[in-house]
Each structure stands twice: as structure tokens, then as C-alpha cells.
Symmetry: C2
Subunit: 424 residues, 2 copies
């Protein structure tokens, strides 16, 4: 047992070294030579990671429930155990070339919060649960955010079970194989509020030299495939005036994707990430170019406006050049604002603890997006080095990890109701 | 024997139907279901094609010499056989999805010229040779224009022999296997003048509704690889202002390649044919983009000017954006003007025969480029449908085929010296 004193709750702090040590120990499972982690969902390594995590939870006196999609709920009872739990969570699966912090931080920060409460003998009115959601990354099985998505009934358990990896193995089969099909129906599990701590996965906090990002919501996303059709011809014999160069028209539209984002500030984002040129030969004028468009903004209305904007630009460009341009939406994720109470709780915690902070929106999806459909939810971001994640180079400072976990603790304390603090 | 009368040489015409029939017969060897031809150099099919061609030449009374790189010279003696021959030629190898006319037309038009002279008993002072050059296409073995290149000592026989296809088979091995390694040293073969008839492989003649292109020269070519280096980052969490999007900078430079061509008229050409985006993922801002640049112009000085132009633009773009841009030249082919006498001979022949015609430059390389280093040379272009070649859809009109061959005949007659016309 920890020997620290807690004269009052405001001075309560988590144990940064213990949290860091747990993060490093979990990162051993699937560790890559470059310092990253490859622990794909529902692999043997995922099972080892889950087993380690659950072992820690049981050692912290928590009970464990698993649902049919393999989501793990590690519970510290409350004095009024019939209250819906305050849930702290994230995921421990990683990208193929993932890092130590993405997801893992949110789960182990939740565990560290419980350990800290234990250290100081603090009893809460509502129970606290640490949730570890199955397959957030979506790199082995789609859709992404699978466990939280099934839990929030964004799609069915059957749909998730049927998903196959590149070898044809199913989610159901792999979940059964590693022994993580639980009894509970996904979603049959009340949630009082949800907090998720996460590395930012972007450069904004580092750029503004802030420790804590108070996440106000998650951007809506629209994904499109765009095809510009020209006329394949030889680069030599075809004079400039007689060309129908699909790439030249595509290059203009690619720039318009970025211009469109700038026309919808402050949160508009536009990215062309994939380009396929046909026939992709050095001395052949491209006959067609297919490329991806990723548009994001803070509200669905702004996403709609960007959609109309880029379609209008493409239409005018097609008329001007005579080359057909086709834009097909391939998927869409609605924007999700977090609950004002949770946003405020995070902001107050950061201020109280003296951490520099700023409001941010999350450009990437998180399990918290689905939880926000079910209960008041909020997120806490901490900086990651150079904004890099989904990469073995992903890195975060121990001091920021500690700060993020302290904010998680204090934001949670606002909601959970402290019954009794027994100094040990 | 043909029964036509030839009151004078100006009224001499080739037999268009016979030429067409030969083209169609040769096109059977390697015929593809879509109406094209796949007769890659030094394959069994190439051997069959060569055998058929040589059989026709012998039937026309010609003698055959083969050199060590497999170039075939089919000779009709002159009254003064010590004069260097007037050579009419091209190639009969094709692209993997090639057409019936590219190359084949130039060789069989030469053969048809000889057949026509035979029909009318016309004896020439200089000998006439029809040359069939090995591996012009370069699709199985590089370099392209291999036979004529070795002949013109642009590179060595050993270099050509060592070239390997994707299976690791060498030119030397394959040439030996099909029995086409001749005795003669390549280049040990005088040439008085060289004429090559060819489909245009571009849209200009069709666009201008002209039957004959009087080719004044072949554009110089500069090939480059260009790499723009940015910073890979997530499309969601990275605000527009903090991006180093390699594709956006590359897209601007791609457009500058075309703008550069327009800044160097009338023959400047600029093409980006190959694009590789890294990591090429829908929700990742591209970290680097590699693309090809193909610049062409009518003189080496103009090619130099385009080289300086695009490098200057890239330098300024790099300074403006802060992203490194690297441009490496990967190969260069000098511009080659044809001999004024040969150009004039082709133009006069077209005029005399009443064919609409216009001066054109060839944007693509041909064996005539290497021959022009050795002897006065010229080329005759005829339209091909929609400017398409290197494609099974490649097509040309029988009337244009006939016209091109008639121009070849009369341009050649200017140079060869007619000794005697014996009506048969």
C-alpha cells in the first residue's frame, strides 16, 4: 500500500511511475524491433495482453465481465452499486506497426485511477469500470471501433462476427479461439458517464505547447473515391493541345480538396491519400486517375457543405476540361460532440491541476464516439511526439502520461461521487 | 507479273491490295483475340515472322544478309552494285498488346516497293535494301531500338547481348535459339540513304485531315524521376496549417510540367505518366510522392531550356513550401533532325502524288533516329485511327497505307537513280 497522505481530494495524484511501468510491460507483448508494438486484435498476442490486463485488474480487487464481442469490463464496486458505473476506457489492440500508447494509455490510465483510489482507500458512490473495447483499430477486421460499435448498436453482433481477415478467419472464430467470447449481450450494461484518455495523434498540442487537450468532439468524416477519365495516349507523338490528360485534371481537383478544407474553417480538413494512375507508364499520358478524398468537419452540416463544395468544383472542372469526373461516397461517419458536463469536467480538472490546456476536436474516431450516443462522454488528449501515431515511432512523455491520467482521475471524481476517504 | 503500264515513272504506283494482304498475313503470327498482335522480339513468333518476311524477300529475288544482332538486310541489286544501298526499313517486333501496323508497315512497304519495281522491270543504279531491325520496341529487352542502335554504334553489341528479359533470358541466348545470329559485324554495311514509313502514333494528321506527314525530325527526350518529401501524418488529427502534404506540392509540380511544355512551343511536350504515393492510404497525408517527368522538344537546346525551366520551378516551389524536391534525370535521347534532301524528297513525292500533307515532328523514337547518324534519312508518316498505337485497337486505313507506300517509292526513286524501265 502506498504511504502517501491525502489531506484532501484536490491533492490526490496518480502514480506516474507505476502507470509508465505498466505501459512498458504491456508493450512487451508484441514488441517490435523498432520500439513499437504489433498486437493485432484477436491474435494470440491480443489474448496475452488481455490476460495481463485482467490479471492486473483482479489484483486491484476488480471483478471482470466480458460480453459477446469480447469487450472487457473491469469493475470496482461503488457504495451504491446499483448506480450506473462511470466508465474509463479505450482499447489495447494495435496497428500492425503501432506504438505503445495508442489505446493502451486509456485502458491503463483507467486501471491506474483505480489503483490510486485503492491506495488512498477512497470509496465512491457509483461503481467505476475500466472498459477495454475489442478491435478499435480495424486493421485486421473491419469495421473499426468494432466492440464499442456493437455495444452502442451502431451495427449488429452478427455483422461483426462475420468480418474476415485477409486469411478468411472470422471475428467469431478468432474470438472463440482466444477464449474471449463472454456471456453478456453487448450493450446490456448501463453506463453513467464515459471518459477516455488518449494520445492526440496530431500535432496541435505540441505546436501550442499545451499538456492537456480538452476534447470537445470528434469530426464527421466523408470518404469518397474520385475517378477522372481522359484518353490514354503516347507522351511523344501527342501534341499538348490534343491531349486529354486525366492526371492534369486530377491534380487540379486534388488541390481543390485542400482548398475546400480551407473554405470551411476552422475544423475543415481535406486529404487525398491514395492515387492510382492508369496505365502508370512513363511515356503514356494517363487515361484515368482514381484517387481518394477524405473530408472532415466539426458538424454534419459543415460536412454536407464541404460535400456540395467539392462536387460543385468537380462539376465545373469537368465542364471546363471536357473530362468526365465521378465522385462516389464510400463511407460516412457523423460528427459527434461530447457532453458539455464532461467537457467542463475535463477542463476544470486540467485547470485545477495546473496543466496548460486548450480545447481541441478529435480528427480521428475513438470508442468514445459510440459511448457518446449512450451516456455523457468526454475525452482527454495528451501530446504525442511530432503528432505521430500508428507508427512504431509513436512516443509520449512520462510527464504528459501522468498529467493525462491525473486529469482522468479528477474529471471522473466530479461524476462518481466520493463517499469516503480512508487514509491508509 | 503485273500487267500495268508505266508510261513514265511519275505514274508508277505500288499495289495497295498486295501490301495490305501481306500486312494481314504477317499479323496472323501472334494475332490476339482483340485484333492486335503480340510478337515480342526474339520469341518463336518473332522467328516465324522473320521467316515469312525473308521467304517473301527471296521470292522477290532478293538476297539476305543478317548481322550479329539479328538485323536483316534484304537486297535488290543495283546496276552499280558497289554503290551504297538506299535502305527502306523498320521493325517487325511488337509490343505485348501491339497492333498490326507499327513497324510492320515500314518493312512490308519496303518489300512492296521492291515488288513494284520488279513488276515494272525497273532497274536502279544503286542497290535497294529492305532492313528489318531487331527489337525496336524494347518491351522485352532494353534498350529500345536495339538493332539499329548497335548498328549505329550508339552502344555495343556486348551491351545488347547481355540484356535480360524478366525471366533472365539474354538477347544473345534468345537470338541464338531462334537462329538469327548472323555473320556480319553490325554497322559493317554502307547506307546511301534511309527512308522509313510508319504510322504516326499520334493524332495530328487525323486532326488536320492530312494523308502524309513529312517528318522533319524526332524530338529529343529527357526522362526524370521526381521525389517530393513531406511528412506522413493522420488525415484526421492534423490541421491543415500543420501539414507537410507531399502530394499537394507534387500536384502543383505536375501541372508545371505541362505549363513548361506550353512555355516552349510549338514542339514542347511535358508528361507525368507514373505516380507513386507513399504510404498510399486513404486517411494518411502522403509523406512522399515519386513521379516521372517526360520532357520533349525539337532541339537539344530547347530540351536544355525545358530542363532549366522545370528545375527552376521546382526550386522555387520547394523554397515556398519548405518541402524538399529532388529531380534526377534517368535518361536522355538527343533530338535528331532528318536530312533536308530526304525531307524534301518526301514532301515532293507527296505533292507529286496529290496526297494532302504537312510537316510533322516525331514525338517517339524510331530506328530512323540512329540511321540519321549514318546517312541522309527521312520518314513518312500516315494517320492511324485516333492516334492510337501500342494497342490492339491500333488501326490504319488501307488508302493511307497505300499512299504512304507510294510516297516511300517516289522519295526513294529520287535517290536511287533509275537506270532502265523495262515494260513487262
Amino acid at each position: 500500500m502506498d504511504q502517501r497522505n491525502t489531506p484532501n481530494l484536490d491533492q490526490l495524484r496518480i502514480d506516474g511511475e507505476r502507470l509508465w511501468a505498466s505501459l512498458m510491460e504491456l508493450a512487451q507483448i508484441g514488441a517490435t524491433p523498432k520500439g513499437g508494438v504489433c498486437r493485432l486484435t484477436l491474435t494470440d498476442l491480443d489474448k496475452q495482453g488481455r490476460d495481463l490486463m485482467i490479471g492486473w485488474a483482479r489484483a486491484a480487487g476488480m471483478s471482470v465481465t466480458i460480453d459477446k464481442i469480447g469487450n472487457v469490463f473491469m469493475r470496482r464496486p461503488g457504495s451504491n452499486d446499483s448506480l450506473p458505473p462511470i466508465v474509463l476506457g479505450s482499447h489495447i489492440d494495435t496497428q500492425p506497426t503501432g506504438g505503445k500508447f495508442d489505446g493502451n494509455f486509456g485502458v491503463l490510465a483507467g486501471l491506474e485511477v483505480v489503483r490510486t483510489l485503492n491506495d488512498f482507500g477512497i470509496e465512491t458512490e457509483a461503481p467505476i469500470e475500466v472498459a477495454s473495447w475489442t478491435n478499435e483499430e480495424g486493421s485486421r477486421f473491419v469495421p473499426v471501433m468494432m466492440g464499442s460499435g456493437v455495444f452502442a448498436k451502431a451495427f449488429t453482433l452478427e455483422h461483426a462476427y462475420a468480418a474476415k481477415d485477409v486469411e478468411g478467419k472470422t471475428v467469431n472464430g478468432e474470438l472463440t479461439r482466444i477464449g474471449y467470447v463472454g456471456e453478456q449481450e453487448p450493450g446490456d450494461h448501463p453506463i453513467g458517464a464515459y471518459f477516455e484518455a488518449h494520445i492526440e495523434q496530431g500535432p496541435l498540442l505540441e505546436d501550442h505547447d499545451k499538456t492537456i487537450g480538452v476534447v470537445t468532439g470528434v469530426l464527421g468524416i466523408r470518404w469518397y473515391d474520385c475517378v477522372v477519365t481522359g484518353m490514354e495516349a503516347h507522351a511523344g507523338p501527342t501534341p499538348m493541345a490534343l491531349r486529354k490528360d486525366a492526371l492534369q485534371v486530377a491534380a487540379r481537383l486534388m488541390q481543390e480538396v485542400v482548398a475546400c478544407a480551407h473554405r470551411h474553417p476552422p475544423h475543415g480538413r481535406g486529404t487525398v491519400g491514395v492515387v492510382q494512375v492508369h496505365p502508370n507508364s512513363r511515356n503514356v499520358i494517363p487515361g484515368s486517375v482514381k484517387f481518394s478524398i477524405d473530408l472532415r468537419n466539426a458538424t454534419d452540416a459543415q460536412c454536407d457543405a464541404m460535400d456540395a463544395d467539392i462536387r460543385g468544383v468537380a462539376e465545373r472542372l469537368s465542364q471546363e476540361t471536357g473530362l468526365p469526373i465521378r465522385i462516389d461516397q464510400v463511407s460516412a461517419y457523423p460528427a459527434q460532440g461530447f457532453h458539455p458536463d464532461c467537457i467542463d469536467a475535463v477542463a476544470r480538472a486540467a485547470e485545477k491541476l495546473g496543466y496548460s490546456n486548450m480545447p481541441v476536436v478529435s480528427g480521428a474516431g475513438h470508442d468514445a464516439v459510440y459511448m457518446a450516443r449512450l451516456a455523457p462522454s468526454g475525452m482527454i488528449f495528451i501530446p504525442c511526439k511530432d503528432g505521430i501515431s500508428h507508427n512504431e515511432m509513436e512516443d509520449a512523455k512520462p510527464a504528459d502520461i501522468e498529467a493525462g491520467c491525473n486529469v482522468l482521475l479528477h474529471a471522473m471524481l466530479e461524476r462518481v461521487g466520493v463517499v469516503r476517504s480512508v487514509q491508509k
